[in-house]
């Protein structure tokens, strides 16, 4: 039997899910051709916000890569638009030729709505919809300059928050007086506005844009009240409209969207439609859950399985702006016969409002505390009457239902089997638990790949973990990661993830929100948290010196007798007569007992008394020397050989490159110490092949190494890239360092980080993905803005931490 020809127009999330469901069930039933106007396959569009903000890379959100399409024998025509559909001949006409179909699925999605304001076509006016838009926004980001986002809905606010995280000043113009007015009531909108303003967003609700102006590119926006906001980027995020042009031209029945029935059939029996382009019973859909429903139903009907028709359901909304907890579901407008229950806690910024009609819960808005969102949503969908007793404590959520507070495990245990765990993918508690039991799953990743739960926006990961714990009992505990220290049950990985996800910006906030078991941490967790915070929020987090180990607190290395050692920086291992003279003088003046060369081509002054440190530093500073950070979990030394300037074998200027790398990277904090070396030829005199990052110069360019070690553990480096130019060598090395800074566990050297996440993954991030490399590099540069001031000068003459260097004199 010859296979039926299936053509799909559009490779968005609905089409991707449909194909996946179809091919899993009937891998060989159809010969599939997939058109996509974007030059790529399916990715998780919901996660573009974290890509924009820099919290994720594009690679991390791809759901179907080239391999997947190849394995599943899908003919991909990406980057090609469909010109028309000839229904009589049953062919789709692409820009590069026709394809015949037996069945056609239109999944053209939606396009951003651009308000035709004067100036809307100026360069620098962007939409925010797909990966290309995101790229354009990232490219157009100029930290310090202003971006204007028109539209204060879900997408607009996510765009604004992302641009802000990339260092831009951001103004949000929103026509209605409440942000996200379709999902929020005015009170929650107010709290949201306050929160976002507190993070430096300039929110102007009730603003009507008159025109975008500029000469050849965007220069600003004028409002109809006459005010004028200069800006170098304008993002329009005022809404989306179904993309129906191809369907309409083909003569299909189209209203706002393409009209479909409950089995996703259009007015032509051979043509189907799913996704944001469809209209069902007057409704169009923009959130992913109902679209995945449509995809599932269509796949089942293509397989010939019986399935229930699509029905319109309520959807719940969560805003994906890190650190803002906001949830809304159902209908929460005020109205005749509707009653509301409101809870406010201004101190904690919590607002909850439930709307009831005929003793049933019909809507909920939660701000600041959204843990009960799923539970309220379940009640809205069930539509069961709420008894007067239940009503008394309803607003306090699930923990109070039934009188006694429940711990999170009991709360999950108490959920019915059909309770929704993952809203994006419509996965119920029952499906997760069955999958864990039947397929012997042991961790969240297993659940993700088998059920899709927690694979889209990820906000239900905690629930999935609790279900694992509940189902596996001790077996799950056995899998549990090693806690960071005795103060918490969380491992390094979770702590790092949650600092970002919950936007925790201080040590007390981490301890409070992540439930630390001690009031003030310990000597293990405090330095780790201090590092994670400084690495996550550069320029924002204020270093907590009391949480640093003594060496980093006083910027010298403590010795066994309580004295300190002082190592000035020798850029690339180079010094000169005046520096050496100053060192000699300071040794004499302060009677420093030992002067020694280190293994990293620097000079170590040992036996300096603590109270003498500022004086020693002041003299070294005066001769132009700064701290060598020989004490730091951070960049230590960059060892070099003499390279082409002197060496008859040298192939490149290794000393010069070493100095450039050191000037770029000095002052950066990292999970553990970082030592570099640059050798001018493969003879490798600078011993670059046992360093954290090493460069070997060769005739054709630079061999970039990493993950070496020469301490208790001895390990040669691995090559992660070969590049032609010095600029590339610098960018690649800094990107690698930044990836390690963002992903490493505290005290984990680069070689251990690489072993843990895998060499391939390191290469994939840095080498295979130029976009991601550039983003890492940019983030490194940004973070360095705040770390490159000499800590010795700050203390010697700048007045910082004077108390450290003086013994108290009791009063008489």
């Amino acid at each position: 039997m010859s296979r039926q020809k299936l053509v799909i127009i559009g490779a968005g999330m609905a089409a991707g899910r449909f194909l996946e469901n179809l091919l899993e069930a009937r891998p060989d039933a159809y010969e599939v051709t997939l058109f996509n106007a974007e030059p790529r396959g399916t990715y998780n569009r919901i996660m573009l916000s974290p890509v924009l903000s820099g919290e994720k890379s594009y690679q991390e959100i791809v759901t179907h890569d080239d391999d997947w399409y190849a394995t599943n024998k899908v003919t991909c025509r990406f980057g090609e638009r469909v010109a028309s559909i000839d229904r009589d001949r049953k062919v789709v006409v692409g820009e590069k030729g026709e394809v015949a179909y037996d069945r056609l699925v239109i999944a053209t999605g939606s396009s951003p709505f651009i308000i035709p304001l004067p100036g809307h076509d100026l360069p620098g006016v962007l939409a925010y919809r797909d990966a290309d838009d995101t790229d354009r926004m990232i490219e157009g980001c100029k930290p310090g300059e202003r971006a204007i986002v028109i539209g204060g809905g879900l997408l607009g606010l996510e765009a604004a928050a992302g641009l802000r995280m990339r260092g831009m000043e951001v103004t949000v113009l929103h026509l209605p007086t409440t942000l996200m007015e379709r999902q929020l009531d005015p009170s929650a909108g107010y709290l949201l506005e306050k929160e976002l303003s507190g993070r430096g967003l300039d929110i102007r609700a009730g603003s009507n844009t008159k025109e975008i102006y500029g000469n050849g590119k965007v220069e600003g926006v004028r409002l109809d009240d006459g005010s004028d906001i200069p800006a170098s980027m304008v993002v329009m995020a005022v809404g989306i409209r179904p993309s129906v042009a191809v369907a309409k031209e083909a003569g299909l029945e189209v209203n706002r969207g393409i009209i479909v029935d409950g089995m996703m059939r259009t007015s032509d029996p051979s043509i189907y439609s799913v996704g944001e382009c469809v209209e069902f019973e007057g409704n169009c859909y923009g959130l992913v859950a109902p679209l995945f429903d449509q995809a599932r139903i269509l796949a089942q009907s293509f397989c010939g399985d019986d399935c229930a028709a699509f029905v319109h359901t309520e959807t719940a909304t969560k805003l994906k702006v890190t650190g803002v907890d906001l949830f809304s579901a159902g209908d929460f407008a005020e109205g005749e016969g509707r009653e509301e229950i409101v809870f406010r806690d201004a101190q904690r910024g919590v607002y909850k409002r439930l709307v009831l009609q005929d003793d049933r819960l019909i809507g909920a808005v939660l701000y600041g505390e959204t843990a009960d969102g799923a539970w309220f949503f379940q009640k809205i969908k069930e539509g069961d009457p709420i008894s007067p007793d239940e009503r008394e404590t309803l607003i306090f959520g699930q923990s109070f239902a039934g009188g006694t507070p429940m711990d999170p495990m009991e709360a999950v245990a108490a959920l019915p089997d059909d309770a929704e765990i993952c809203g994006c993918n419509g996965v119920s508690k029952g499906s997760v638990v069955n999958a864990i039991r039947q397929r012997d799953l042991k961790d969240v990743n297993g659940v993700r790949s088998c059920t899709k739960a927690s694979s889209s926006c990820g906000t239900c990961t905690g629930l999935v973990e609790q279900l694992l714990a509940m189902t596996l009992g001790d077996a799950f505990e056995a899998n549990a990661v090693e806690p960071l220290c005795g103060c918490t049950d969380l491992g390094h990985s979770d702590v790092r993830r949650l600092i970002v996800a919950q936007e925790l910006r201080s040590i007390p906030a981490v301890m409070q929100e992540l439930g630390w078991k001690t009031s003030c941490g310990c000597a293990k967790c405090r330095p780790a948290l201090n590092y994670y915070l400084i690495a996550t929020w550069p320029g924002d987090y204020k270093d907590d010196s009391q949480s640093r180990f003594i060496n980093e607190r006083v910027h010298a290395n403590i010795q066994k007798d309580g004295t300190y050692s002082v190592v000035p920086r020798a850029w690339g291992g180079v010094t000169n007569a005046s520096e050496l003279r100053a060192i000699a003088d300071v040794v004499d003046k302060y009677e420093i007992p030992l002067v020694k060369y280190t293994g990293g081509q620097r000079i170590d002054l040992l036996g300096v008394k603590k109270d003498d440190l500022p004086g020693v530093w002041a003299e070294l500073n005066a001769a132009g020397m700064v701290s060598g950070h020989a004490y730091a979990k951070g960049l230590r030394t960059v060892k070099t050989c003499v390279g082409t300037d002197w060496c008859r074998f040298g192939t490149q200027d290794s000393t010069g490159l070493g100095i450039k790398l050191e000037k770029l990277m000095w002052g950066s904090w990292s999970p553990a110490k970082v030592k570099l070396a640059v050798s001018g030829c493969p003879r490798n005199c600078a011993e670059a092949t046992c360093k954290d990052i090493g460069v070997i110069c060769v005739d054709s360019g630079y061999e970039l190494h990493y993950a070496g070690a020469a301490g208790m553990h001895i390990q040669g480096t691995q090559v992660f890239a070969k590049v032609a130019t010095e600029e590339e060598a610098i960018e690649y090395s800094a990107a690698l360092l930044q990836a390690y800074r963002e992903q490493g566990f505290y005290l984990e050297r680069i070689y251990k980080w690489s072993a843990r996440i895998g060499h391939d993954k390191v290469v994939a991030q840095i080498v295979d993905n130029p976009e991601n490399r550039k983003a890492l590099y940019e983030r490194f540069l940004y973070s360095q803005k705040f770390s490159q001031s000499d800590p010795w000068a700050e203390r010697a003459t700048g007045g910082v931490a004077q108390h450290e260097f003086k013994v108290l004199e009791p009063a008489e």
């Binding site: 001690t518 009031s519 000597a523 330095p527 108390h803 108290l808």
Partner: protein, 110 residues
């Protein structure tokens, strides 16, 4: 009764604010170095500054709850009792502390 009575003497060491929260200062008293500690909740402690293990300067350690971790080998010393916590052994001398009008006073035996 002993012929020479021991007379307790309070010594004014410094202003409370001279000691950073979750931090410490050093002071020389009666021929020994004393560490003066102030924890997160503002309580002030004074102990012999030498770790019983390898004489590390305890004032340089990280201060948490009512203890300090020695900077040399991470012994945790309880600031109230002077005793090493956990499996470790060892004890340092503690001194009575009083806070008066914003000043730290330490009771020395004269």
């Amino acid at each position: 009764m002993n012929s020479i009575a021991k007379i307790a003497e309070w010594t004014d060491i410094c202003a409370v604010d001279d000691v950073p929260l979750r931090g410490a200062r050093r002071v020389r008293l009666a021929g020994m170095e004393v560490g003066v500690f102030r924890n997160a909740s503002g309580r002030v402690f004074a102990i012999d500054n030498q770790c019983p293990h390898k004489q590390g300067p305890l004032s340089e350690g990280i201060v948490h709850d009512t203890s300090v971790t020695c900077p040399l080998h991470s012994l945790v010393i309880d600031l109230e009792t002077g005793k090493a916590r956990g499996e470790d052994e060892g004890c340092v001398k503690t001194f009575e502390v009083a806070l008066q009008s914003g000043r730290v006073l330490i009771k020395m035996e004269a």
